[in-house]
Amino acid sequence: MNKLSLRSFASNWTGFILLALLLLVVFPAALDDFRLNLVGKYLSFGFVVLGLVLCWGYTGILSLGQGIFFGLGGYCIAMFLKLEASTPENTAIQSTPGIPDFMDWNQLTELPFFWEPFHSFAFTVFAIMAVPAAIAFILAYAMFKRRVGGVYFAIITQAVTAVLTILIIGQQGYTGGINGITDLRTLLGWDIRTDEAHNMLYFICVVLLLGCILLGRFVLKSKLGRILVAIRDKEERVRFSGYDVANFKTFVFCAAAALAGVGGAMFTLQVGFMSPTIIGIVPSIEMVIFCALGGRLSLIGAVAGALIVNAAKTTFSEMFPELWLFAMGGLFIAVTLFFPRGLAGVVYDYVVPFLSKVFFGDKKTPPGQVAAKPAE
């Protein structure tokens, strides 16, 4: 077998450069405004899967609640945008002008206190990462200190997701309920609904995502990254090497939550709303499959997975809505049974050796000449 070690993969740049070229050059040139905006929407899930690679792939903590962190980030920016859209002039017909419309419909006469800080853009940017991370911290710190892990932790994240989703839906007056926060218009006066704005946001999203990939690489290549792997494989030994394992797990879980929050914010900006249907139990577990399909040990692979599954979802559910759930279910089963390392694993086990055989005629791939499969 001509397998490449995962480390030689992480240390080479080919995959990253190809992804950057694809996102920054090929897609903008080849796709129309509408499709490009769609890709941008898919890429906002890329942030989530980066976090999953860190906490699930490398540390072994499966979270079934990433949708919630995605949602919290999305709601933070949505609250800011909603406040900007709800000027007294725009809402003059309401019984209480100057507050978001859904609050007015729910007989609120005053802006709730926790909405107040979202008048500030700086606070909002901070909150997009800090709110998900804070919730993640409370959960993770308590659980990991008590050494709850594995499937128990996974189930508990799912329960937390259920709780928060019910809360958001139930507290209509404060959150917009099942409809979510809609009718978002401008960001600091810049209309985000135009094609130009969508294009601009696409590029912002891509640059941020590439930045986060680099950040993820930095973490994985540091000693911290190796400790994470060590925790996944032999938690007890790590304790007896003098590390407080709970702190490391908490850190990586919070980091994943913060990344998901950024993704949620980019989603809201590009799509123009945020609602509970995007963030519940089902979407959360779908995010896990993006990551599993792309490769839970590969940052680039996971982002590719998010793109591919979302694109397939759009295509399939337009053309054969009946078949989509079959395809999705089949994906879950096939990936776990046959490709536990996802597409990235397939690429490194088969495609790269094959390519290098064809182009270089040798059996062993020299490191540094590893090609990555294009994302789509």
Binding site: I156, Q158, A159, A162, G170, G329
Partner: protein, 307 residues
């Protein structure tokens, strides 16, 4: 709540308690099969709800069969349906174990993903076969109506029936686990898998039978479920998270723990519903359970095993 008289208050409490008991029955029915599979085998079966719904659809089909061909026997159709439900869900369980689960025993987190995929496929099969709308069965006459316990308290007969059925199924599972040869083997394998093989127990076969039985019990649960609610393709998903919490909270390996935790969770939820909205009651119940799990990660009832 100070506007109520004492009599009114107590009858409301009784009614809430009764609602809690129905919820308790649903939890138990779901959790029994799950506890067998998760507690004994360590497999997270996210498709458990779909096995239950399969039982409900089988019951629905059986009721039509009786209506069309055996109308005179209609009052008794439910009991036949229950047997069918057990067989069909159990058989599917055996198949799933053979095709899917047995390859994943060493990877519990992956069973979670694979069975989630299975649940999506089953949901779509149900949707394609029975339509997206919920279907209900016609209750036989003897199950309609309600009993008046006092002037202000009345209880539905179908609710009582489901409770009785739940008790019967629970006892049946307990008897099976503690009195039958199969139960003997399951308990041996749970206690010490390696040693069980070394006294001649075919552990793989026990795994398959256990998974099949857990799914079969889910099917029976689905049949019972039709008596108090209608069935749609995604009905199974509604309860899966709660049920997992019930099982985990009770201590994964203890069936009695499962019963106790189902009782606690269902009663506290229905009691809270009196003071709060339904969704807030659920939120608070779930939060309490999560909080307690932080204090006792092994669950309420840990089986003490001397090694």
């Amino acid at each position: 709540m100070f506007d109520y008289t004492f009599a009114e208050l107590s009858s409301i409490l009784v009614m809430q308690g009764f609602a809690g008991l129905i919820l308790f029955s649903v939890f138990i029915l779901m959790a029994l099969g799950l506890a067998i599979i998760f507690g004994q085998m360590g497999v997270i079966n996210m498709a458990h709800g779909e096995f239950m719904i399969l039982g409900a659809y089988v019951t629905y089909l059986t009721s039509h069969l009786f209506q069309d061909y055996l109308p005179f026997a209609y009052p008794a159709y439910f009991f036949v349906a229950m047997i069918f439900a057990f067989i069909v869900s159990g058989a599917l369980g055996l198949l799933v174990e053979w095709v899917l689960i047995r390859h994943l025993y060493a990877r519990p987190l992956d069973t979670l993903l694979a069975t989630w995929g299975l649940s999506l496929i089953l949901q779509q099969i149900y949707r394609s076969t029975f339509g997206a709308r919920e279907v209900g069965v016609e209750l036989p006459d003897w199950m309609m109506g309600s009993l008046n316990v006092s002037d202000t308290i009345e209880v539905q007969i179908n609710g009582l029936f489901v409770m009785g059925l739940t008790a019967a199924i629970t006892i049946a599972v307990l008897v099976l686990l503690f009195k039958s040869r199969w139960g003997l083997q399951v308990r041996a394998v749970t206690t010490n898998r390696v040693m069980s093989g070394a006294v001649g127990i075919d552990t793989r076969k026990v795994d398959r039978m256990t998974f099949g039985l857990g799914c079969g019990v889910a099917g029976v649960a689905g049949a019972a479920f039709t008596m108090i609610g209608s069935t749609g393709p995604t009905s199974g998903q509604l309860y899966i998270v709660d049920t997992f919490l019930v099982v985990v909270f009770g201590g994964a390996q203890s069936l009695l723990g499962t019963v106790a935790s189902a009782f606690t969770i269902s009663q506290s939820q229905s009691a809270l519903e009196f003071f709060l909205s339904g969704s807030m009651a659920k939120v608070i119940t779930l939060l309490i359970v999560i909080g307690l799990l932080m204090l006792r990660p092994q669950g309420l009832f840990v089986l003490k095993v001397r090694r």
